[in-house]
């Protein structure tokens, strides 16, 4: 495309050799490559199963916890290429997250007792569900360190909300959703007083508590409604993971635990450490909660307010028959409801078995009040053996279970043995084992915790990488290993280093369910999902002093920031509001300024703001940080801060370079040539059914903008020429050309799209 543009722009045509066809010469055969690179036949098959050619799409998209990075990692399967880090709990400048005023407001929701928290220890992502199936609308993720849940909208992959758990001081067992995403569950981990008081550890058994919180999700608004959310008080066991029932078990939630010994360590004072006292008993407890009934109790007002939050006390929960305990093997890690909702699989990490509970048997025990006893807090305990469908030896240190599309087939991660065991949970038999490197934690099959798992692939989320990759210093990446589960035997396909953060759990969705936007409505505040009060249209840019703040209503478009010069007085608070006027996909502009920690990302249509106090006199350059166009480096400006009390003077620029009529004439000739290319492109586009292609419609709108700007610059140029002001006439002729170049570039991108996507000629 650009060769034609180049020609019209007065440049000699470049020699266009294009992409050469694949030449499979002697040294370029598969055999030759295998020999040179030491690949086995199995390696080549794995390569072919994972390679995605240029422009291709991955079949599944995984959302992985970013661990202590506080972010979400998005990657494609089977290529295992990371597509994006989504900023959630941690400020991240590329995305402007925690830098623009709009996202600062989201992070501020996550303050703990008034303190800014600039990280998160993310653990378990959950995709929103409709009828128990992933629907690709929202993603939820928890923070273990500071109990919080974040809501990410998959329409734009942005974090929209952070809610702070009002009673927990530590959590682990979230986020998991009910089959229609009515509630998101969060379960505590290390027990603590539910109030914010100091309570000595000598009162651990009496005053320290666990809890589960059911966050009400407003599906219409896409936000958690804290006023409709509630918690249930639990004993000071270390609650661990949770899952919601589905199908026959819909209405119940399951949360397991460790350290039901209620042991408090203190190695520094001669007591054995937590690890000894928390792993002494052979069993811990799975908590079974009837959340639908709990929601009714909440609505009926049968709650106690703690820190202003509605809590159903243990006593109420016991009295109302919504809370039960079931023994489970020693220190379990996962509690995973089967796709059909009839069974719950738990594995004790200090055991070798996976235990399959029958939901039907559990309900029979509950119905018949067939209890094996009560725990110290009076909670009824169901009998383990009576509740079991079966137990199977799956390996040493079993943790988590995911499901296949094939009935009754499950995969369990085996931590100590560093293996994945494939087994039949209906019949109770091991089907296959595969070794992984090293020490698997969670594992993930495709949509593997939904009502309809997709099979095909399994990812082993390993906790150690050790020597798997090129060394990068004492801090190692993690290793996600992709395994082909389409056949009878599992086959290892790929080792993927995770370069930032230690993921815990991940979820993968069929890529076709995701339909994110490529742009916002112009003037959009993406964090509140509403039109920004600072939306600015082209030509309406202004600087306005109001209530002690200098508001800069600015715009960004290839290749200038308006305004280019902003002058304020020392001590003034300045608020830049910038709207990206582009519509073309991927035409993001950035905005960074010296010294004031200003760094914004404005995707097409977005309005972002940065507010700061100009606290010292000086000169502060600003510029676009995204390489947006050929003249990206020239997309710059200056903020000047006058010393307090100094009067503003009219700037008289001494021109660095003088232009004469010859310069003007030369530029106009180039512009006229360029217009001929543009006209031909316009003729091509308008003769095709371009309105059937939304990306092209957006490009045409962008190009039309640029042509309108060009017409305006042309007029200015000609007006100055009439006055024989060759300086301004030449500069405006150059700007007219710059608008033309952008219009042509956008137009040619549209033309190429039409050519490649089968547009047809239409009658005029």
């Amino acid at each position: 495309m650009s060769m034609r543009l180049g020609k019209a722009m007065g440049f000699a045509a470049a020699v266009g050799l294009g992409l050469s066809a694949a030449s499979v010469s002697a040294q370029d055969t598969l055999e030759g490559i295998m020999k040179e690179r030491g690949l086995t036949q199995k390696d080549v098959l794995a390569a072919a199963k994972t390679y995605v050619p240029t422009g291709g799409r991955d079949e599944f998209v995984a959302f992985s916890s970013g661990g202590q990075s506080g972010q979400i990692i998005v990657y494609g399967i089977p290529s295992m290429r990371i597509l994006k880090y989504v900023a959630v709990f941690t400020p991240e400048p590329w995305q402007g997250y925690g830098f623009d005023d709009e996202s600062k407001a989201v992070l501020a929701q996550g303050r703990i007792n008034g303190k800014d928290i600039t990280f998160g220890d993310t653990h378990h992502p959950a995709i929103s569900e409709t009828n128990g199936d992933y629907d690709g609308r929202y993603l939820f993720i928890n923070d273990k360190a500071n109990p919080r849940i974040a809501v990410i909208d998959l329409a734009d992959f942005e974090t929209k909300q952070i809610v702070v758990n009002p009673i927990m001081k530590s959590e682990h067992g979230g986020a998991f959703v009910t089959p229609n995403t009515d509630y998101v569950i969060e379960a505590s981990q290390y027990a603590a007083p539910l109030t914010n008081e100091y309570v000595p550890l000598s009162q651990f058994n009496e005053k320290y508590r666990g809890a589960v919180t059911y966050w009400k999700f407003d599906n219409a608004k896409g936000r958690i409604d804290q006023s409709q959310s509630f918690s249930i008080e639990l004993p000071p066991y270390s609650q661990d993971l949770s899952d919601f029932g589905k199908g026959p078990s819909d209405g119940w939630s399951f949360t397991n635990s460790f350290c039901t010994e209620r042991y408090v360590g203190g190695i520094e004072s001669g007591r054995p450490p937590f690890e000894a006292g928390c792993s002494q008993k052979d069993t811990d407890y799975m908590h079974m909660i009837n959340w639908k009934k709990a929601a009714e109790l909440f609505k009926a007002g049968k709650t106690t307010k703690i820190n202003g939050h509605d809590v159903i006390t243990m006593d109420t929960a016991i009295k109302e028959g919504i809370l039960f305990l079931v023994p489970e093997p020693k220190s379990p890690h996962g509690v995973d409801v089967t796709p059909d909702g009839t069974k719950i699989i738990v594995a004790g990490k200090l055991d070798t078995h996976a235990s399959v509970y029958s939901f039907e048997k559990l309900m029979t025990l509950v119905k018949n009040k067939d209890f094996a006893g009560k725990d110290p807090y009076g909670i009824p305990i169901l009998d383990l053996k009576k509740a079991l469908h079966l137990q199977l030896e799956v390996g040493l240190g079993p943790l988590h279970t995911q499901y296949d599309s094939k009935p009754c087939v499950a995969y369990t991660s085996i931590y100590v043995d560093s293996q994945v065991t494939k087994w039949d949970y209906c019949e109770g038999k091991v089907l296959d084992k595969i070794s992984i490197h090293y020490n698997i934690g969670h594992l993930m099959s495709m949509e593997g915790d939904s009502v309809s798992p997709d099979g095909k692939y399994l990812v082993s989320l390993n906790k150690l990488a050790i020597d798997r990759f090129n060394p990068v210093g004492p801090l190692h990446p993690q290793n996600h290993q992709l395994i082909d589960i389409s056949g009878d035997k599992m086959e290892l396909l790929y080792d993927m280093p995770l370069p930032l953060g230690e993921p815990h759990y991940a979820v993968a969705i069929n890529a076709e369910k995701l339909k994110p936007h490529v742009r916002y409505k112009v003037g959009w505040d993406s964090r509140s999902d509403s039109e920004s009060p600072y939306k600015t249209r082209p030509g309406r840019e202004k600087i306005e002093r109001k209530d002690g703040v200098v508001h800069v209503y600015g715009t960004l478009i290839r290749s200038h920031i308006t305004p280019e010069i902003v002058e304020v007085e020392e001590g003034e608070t300045v608020s830049f509001h910038l709207t990206n006027l582009e519509r073309a996909e991927d035409e993001t502009h950035g905005f960074a300024m010296y010294e004031y920690n200003v760094n914004l990302s404005a995707e097409p249509g977005k309005t972002v703001s940065a507010t700061f106090k100009a606290d010292r006199p000086g000169v502060f350059p600003y510029y676009c940080t995204e390489f947006c166009s050929a003249l990206h480096l020239e997309m710059q400006g200056y903020m000047l801060v006058r010393p307090k009390g100094m009067k503003a003077t009219e700037a008289k620029f001494s021109e660095g370079q003088a232009y004469a009529q010859g310069d003007y004439d030369k530029q106009v000739k180039t512009n006229v040539d360029t217009q001929a290319v543009i006209d031909s492109v316009v003729a091509f586009i308008t003769s095709r059914n371009f309105k059937d292609f939304p990306p092209v419609v957006a490009l045409v709108e962008d190009a039309t903008d640029q042509l309108n700007f060009a017409a305006d610059a042309k007029k200015k140029s000609e007006d100055f020429a009439t006055k024989q002001d060759w300086q301004n006439a030449t500069l405006w002729a150059q700007q007219w050309f710059q608008y033309q170049v952008k219009a042509a570039d956008i137009g040619l991108r549209a033309k190429t799209f039409l050519e490649q996507n089968g547009a047809v000629e239409v009658k005029q």
Copy 2:
């Protein structure tokens, strides 16, 4: 390995099926996969050329700018897997960067006029060189937004130093190093007063300035020595990229520029924008500076102090004959010295040519004072035509050039045409072109800007991804495309999405040159590269109040934090100092605490600190954030903050679980069985030449630690048993077992390593 351990631990042996052999069945043939996945023969060859099997190593390691993320991205070539994000200018919690006191001190070096800057706009990484060749010791990277240079030590991939440019307000042309890394260059971008004063833009030509800074690098200390660094004042042209001479041109540096029109925009007040006024002239200037002579001038005191920094003024530079200008085609982006140092290649981004300057011709012009004129500041201008070796039409919008291992072969990125042109810069002919997607900025060949490029691969650093990958919302990843340059024709191999940040430039080094550590000496402060004053040995943990601060001298080891309980009074300042006692590779422990924004990463041997004010009473759980061992979740503790004035009480724990003699006996039996496994492993290891394997020596040391701890716990257990205190006897027996398990686990890891790495039996 673990099956044997499992057996001895009293668990039934798991069924070990291991990794199944590759079964190339009918549906698992290469042809079948190609058909199912729609792969061409070319795709399969590309897959085979890029796939790295499990445990394999990449041939090259790339260090890419992380753009506005403020980080460095490390990835392997040809697999294009990201191995690590290294935190540089932006706090990053996974690495504890900006969270531990030690790294906060590094970030604090980067403050701008006292203000914290929590991002960087990284552009150009540079690997340290010896005799012009990459040596893999250090990495340097610049920040465009707030002019700074960071030093990363490749011994541990950590940022050690940030230096702030004392006179610039914007920069671009760094970091590049002299052939023996004596100096690191940084060049300004947008002109501004060199002082921090307010100067109206009407005085742009007179008082705004550019500059280049030569940072002296102390190779012995691995730090920039600011006192031995200096700058040269330059005209208010927008200086762009830089490069150092080598071979015959060693001693000179080259910095190009755009907007030598010295145009100041102001579209909001009716002036054409910067983009118009900055692209009107047909040529800009390359600055040629004799830096060796400049260093002598600095040593001779021929400098002026600006903001306390030594600056050689333009007048001095002109008078002393160290500064010259050479015209270069319109708005160039790259200035790249050839491997042999005889030529400099510049391409104007608004032109179609690459211009090859002859260093010999340039020197002849300088020597003969054969000047074409002077710029407005009196700097001699050399004649373009007389300085050229040749010019070649390479495509529309040429930017940067990298070199092949083959003589005279270069690759130039073509922005507007979205291509890479391979050409012969000696003879002046185009050899090949390849299309990329979309809009390439920089490009990188292997060690392609050193004296001895390695050829083989080229990476195209594209500025837009548009539709190359699965959509992830309005903000897109970048796309680095890997190209095979081993043959006559370039071949596209791989599209790699960049998930975080917009890289500008990248450098790739032969992987064998990198030999990073896997651990630190115990008690090491990695940021200052010295023993930490807070180093704590096992058994020496203590809590000490000193100068108004509660110092917690703690340790981390599988699987407990010592101390586990810390009690302080409201209002006290608390400083946790934690030493990771592990030696095994990848045995990192983390440390996070509720509410106080505490999140640390302690790699093996490292000592890290976190200091904060305990400003409210309450209970604050803390825990290990890296999944380090089977009992990772139990690696926890509590900080309790008593209300101000409340007296500390002796904690009397009410046990949550009681143990009797039977519990003790059962545990001891398990422990005795476990010891048998350990003894057999020890016998195996000591019968082999394990001392020849450093990783095994480290593992043996770790295992010995655990066995010593086990012996201590055993003694405690037995002492309590003697007193018939079955509670404590059982708990200590459990802890004895926990130490045994870890010793066995580490020992088996060592045994496996010896088996897999050809250890031989040695005579006792």
